[in-house]
């Protein structure tokens, strides 16, 4: 039975993605599907084959033939040859030196892609190979960094470790990850009058693409407009990386005077653009009989690649999450931002958080194994205090007080619904009875800080028009990459006006409508843009209320927005009717809305402050089975309980949790990036780079939302959901480790990703001592 007083598609309703019907009928228009303007040319990028080399000579004389309209190098850039998002050092095209294998050297525009590719490969480039730094150890030795080495600390870690009853130390190698958005990087640029440029770009950050196109063309920002309706996945890979593609298209468009489309082939996409940062961690920990941490030191070394890109913030977030859910007391976290001759690693769902979190979860696991305790018991004893229990155990190593910790409740509930205790027993029995197959289980929590750690970025704008017929045009700075942001924001607007969501038209993100936006990143999309759209809607509502009070001569507090109509005193006026009256009486029906996140502050010198508005929490239990002869494994069951506050849309939120978990599982299991000894990426296509398939997900997969509102004043008290669930996959990694531990009494050394080869290596080692 439908409630007649409730609108369709309001806040909290599990409606499908706004484009779902278009997606399933093939009608959704992605950048490559936009009707090409007449005379549209196609581009191809020629990439360096050396990780580090001097360019002696570039000869493009052979490239030109019929149909080839332009061949451009760094020398052809009218503005500045740099598309770095924050600092500098990301040239569009290499100048006299290449810094990674795959770096763009030149680009061609021709009548077809095939022709452009052939033409580009006719260029003759003379290189003089130079020594290359290809891992963090060599980079640290050479003191090669993209940013300052920094430290966050609380208490006295050295004394804490020294005084503790037990001590352990170890290392962990963590691999990177390719985004593998199904839609590769793409942009189409079209020259406009007086040298202006328009660009359709598959980007999470249209404002930055706009600014960088202006920079490379030597224009003002106002001469460039960037639009994006939707992306076929992004995951952080189109935050800073989309700019390069868009800028090359714009440079070629400007040079030829024709529209130019650049769509990268999968292999070129994977070699040209950055990935999740590989990390190396070295740690030392002191703890008591119960496993309670008394002092800890973690050194993180991130492989940032050839430039800073977003690495400073990524590595900061790794440091911020080196506690995950645990009170560290005496801690020192140090991080090295290593500069290597590899592609510049970049944002990827979690943004450094997953690496930091994996390190501490692995340490807790090591402590438990050393003491012969259940890792869950060690986790519980180290948790931050619950909200309300304000002892001293709630200050992070960066000085923020954890005020909203709901993990004790989440863990207790998950432990019960996931039958953790019983299954531990069952697994023990199974492992005693089976020699070849071994099972393992792990329960791991997630606490993830929500906000951009650069305070400035925590702002957003929206633009709403209400037309005379009562239909609503919605625009905001967020971009749609599949996560359902546009649906959620439209739900918020529908709820504000109390009209069916069908009245609200979702429109392409455009730098011409909402300016100076932040990237849709850091899980902040609906927090920021939802609030901004709500603010815009409220401004228009207020004008309507003022008008109605005057026009119908009633008190303002006698006016209420009811379903599809406005109660004005005793009468109910249809929404469209009221709007049309308002127009006739010269009331503005268009407004921008603006939001900035409150409470944030950060002292960079002291490395202390409140970088996050709030935390999102969750936990997962995973059980795996491994074949000790092959190293292959299977996830038997995963139970997830995840906190999204008051869900804006439970269907979308659960989809984010399932998808994030599986993507994280790929990162920690099958997705292995392999660079050869020359620094050339060998896993640059799905034939060699294995993302999870339908057969890699848990046999039994149970996902539930933890039902409690956000204690901070977010939009409808919801919480961000994009990134946090990815880290629930740490439960799979540690379950695999648990299974390996059942094979022998030797040391358990497992690095990420835990490919079958890695698992076999670990089993061999575990058995070596038995």
């Amino acid at each position: 039975m439908t409630d007649k007083t409730v609108i369709k598609g309001g806040v909290g309703e599990a409606i499908p993605h706004d484009s779902a019907t278009l997606h399933v009928s093939g009608e959704a228009v992605y950048t490559d599907d936009i009707r090409e303007p007449q005379g549209c040319l196609h581009a191809y990028v020629l990439q360096s084959s050396y990780a580090h080399a001097r360019i002696r000579k570039i000869d493009i004389s052979e490239c030109y033939s019929d149909g080839v309209h332009a061949v451009i190098t760094a020398a052809d850039i009218p503005g500045i040859n740099d598309v770095a998002p924050v600092f500098s050092g990301d040239p569009v095209f290499a100048e006299d030196e290449v810094f990674y294998a795959g770096q763009a050297v030149l680009a061609v525009a021709a009548t077809t892609r095939e022709l452009a590719r052939k033409a580009a490969h006719k260029a003759v480039i003379e290189y003089e190979e130079l020594p290359a730094l290809l891992n963090v150890r060599d980079a640290i030795k050479a003191q090669s960094f993209v940013g300052e080495t920094c430290t966050m600390q609380i208490g006295d870690s050295t004394a804490g470790i020294e005084k503790a009853a037990h001590r352990l130390q170890g290392e962990l190698e963590i691999g990177g990850q390719d985004h593998f958005y199904l839609e590769g990087q793409i942009a189409m640029a079209t020259p406009q009058e007086s040298g202006d440029m328009h660009c359709w770009s598959s980007t999470q950050h249209p404002s930055e693409v706009q600014h960088l196109i202006a920079r490379v063309l030597g224009l003002s920002d106002h001469a460039v407009t960037v639009d994006v309706r939707r992306m076929g996945g992004a995951f952080g890979g189109k935050e800073s990386q989309a700019s390069l593609i868009a800028c090359i298209a714009a440079l070629l468009a400007s040079k030829t005077g024709s529209p130019v489309k650049l769509r990268l082939d999968r292999d070129d996409d994977m070699t040209l653009t950055g990935k999740r940062h590989p990390f190396h961690a070295a740690w030392k920990v002191g703890f008591d009989e119960q496993g309670r941490i008394e002092g800890i030191e973690i050194d993180l070394a991130a492989n940032c690649g050839m430039s800073a890109d977003l690495s400073n913030a990524v590595v900061d977030r790794a440091m911020f999450h080196s506690d995950n859910a645990y009170y560290l007391g005496n801690a020192r976290i140090t991080a090295y931002r290593c500069k290597t001759n590899m592609v510049s690693h970049t944002a990827f769902r979690g943004f450094g958080g997953p690496q930091g979190l994996l390190v501490i979860e692995n340490i807790i696991d090591e402590i438990a194994r050393y003491l012969g305790k259940d890792p869950l018991a060690v986790r519980k004893i180290n948790l931050y205090d619950a909200a309300g229990a304000l002892e001293n155990r709630c200050t992070t190593h960066y000085g923020m007080t954890v005020e909203d910790n709901i993990l004790p409740d989440i863990l207790a509930r998950l432990e019960a619904t996931g039958e953790y205790a019983r299954r531990i027993e069952d697994i023990r029995t199974f492992n005693d009875r089976n020699r070849i197959l071994k099972k393992g289980i792990a329960l791991t929590p997630v606490k993830f800080g929500i906000s951009f750690t650069l305070k400035m970025l925590n702002q957003a704008g929206a633009l709403i028009h209400v037309y005379k017929d009562g239909s609503i045009h919605l625009n905001h700075g967020g971009t749609e990459m599949g996560q359902g942001l546009h649906t959620k924001v439209a739900q918020v607007v529908a709820a504000e006006f109390n009209v069916d969501i069908s009245r609200v038209k979702i429109t392409a993100t455009s730098t011409g409508k909402v300016p100076n936006t932040s990237a849709t990143a850091a899980s902040s999309g609906s927090d920021l843009n939802g609030k901004a759209a709500q603010a815009a809607a409220r401004i228009i509502k207020e004008r309507l209320v003022d008008f109605a009070a005057r026009h119908f001569d009633v008190e303002k507090d006698a006016i209420r927005f009811e379903k599809e109509g406005v109660r004005i005193g005793s009468q109910l006026v249809n929404f469209a009717e009221l709007v049309s009256h308002a127009y006739e009486n010269r009331v503005s029906l268009s407004s921008t809305g603006y939001y900035r996140t409150p409470k944030l502050h950060w002292d960079k010198e002291a490395a202390k402050g409140r970088p996050f508005f709030y935390f999102a929490y969750g936990a997962a239990i995973s059980e795996v089975i491994i074949d000790t002869l092959t190293g292959e494994y299977n996830i038997l069951r995963t139970d997830i309980l995840h906190d999204v506050g008051n869900s804006l849309n439970p269907a979308i939120d659960i989809g984010q949790i399932e998808g994030g978990f599986v993507q994280g599982t790929g990162w920690l299991t099958s997705e292995e990036l392999y660079w050869d000894e020359k620094g050339v990426l060998k896993t640059h296509a799905p034939s060699t780079y294995k993302i999870p398939t339908s057969r890699d997900i848990p046999d039994d997969f149970r996902v539930a939302l933890f039902d409690r509102e956000n204690q901070e004043n977010t939009v409808y008290r919801s919480k961000a959901v994009g990134e946090p669930p990815l880290m629930l996959s740490v439960s799979v990694f540690l379950a695999i480790k648990d299974a390996i531990a059942a094979t022998g009494k030797g040391p358990i050394v497992l690095n990420a990703p835990a490919t079958p080869e890695e698992v076999l290596r670990a089993i061999t080692k575990a058995r070596s001592a038995s």
Partner: protein, 178 residues
């Protein structure tokens, strides 16, 4: 039919229920033919090497990666793309409707390939059901479905709702009477 001046061919085939002809070269890929010549943009290039399934179309009801399929081989065959899956009145077919209702769609880039792959599974299963002499429906397990979908990558959803859709559709398959 070969035009010796230009090296191009004419192929005749059935595309989404309509007989069509197109002039192609020996190296034209079916994916490009569909997207560029017929301007049907629902078929997606994900990897162009036969590994992701985003470009899946049905040829005589069998799923094929159109990025590896030479258009020259299409003569006389029947091709169904995502645009051909919708009902004649433009409404959604059962597969499409189920994917929407189950929230099996996020970015949508894998969706047309998935939908066609599931459609092909239904064809197979219907044939199986109707070829059986007994009245009992053969059992398709969740694992069978996962295996069937293995060649279609999705980076967003974690597959859960896609598998749920496929299972639901399979369970709704009825034995044809008579």
């Amino acid at each position: 039919m070969k035009n010796s001046d230009t090296g191009s061919f004419i192929v005749n085939f059935n595309l989404n229920g309509k007989d069509v002809k197109a002039e192609i070269s020996a190296s034209t890929l079916l994916l490009d033919l569909i997207r560029n010549t017929f301007n049907m943009k629902g078929t997606k290039p994900g990897c162009n090497e036969g590994e992701c399934g985003a470009c899946t179309v049905l040829i005589n009801d069998v799923p094929v990666n159109s990025c590896l399929y030479l258009a020259a081989n299409i003569n006389g065959k029947t091709v169904t793309t995502i645009e051909g899956l919708s009902c004649n009145d433009g409404s959604l077919s059962a597969v499409q409707d189920s994917l929407v209702k189950n929230g099996a769609v996020q970015c949508g880039f894998c969706t047309s390939g998935m939908a066609l792959c599931i459609k092909a599974l239904m064809f197979e299963y219907e044939n199986l059901v109707n070829s059986k002499l007994t009245g009992k429906k053969p059992k398709l397990t969740e694992n069978d479905v996962k295996k069937w979908l293995e060649g279609n990558l999705c980076r967003c959803t974690g597959y859960v709702n896609i598998i749920k859709s496929a299972l639901e559709l399979i369970n709704n398959v009825e034995r044809k009477s008579g």
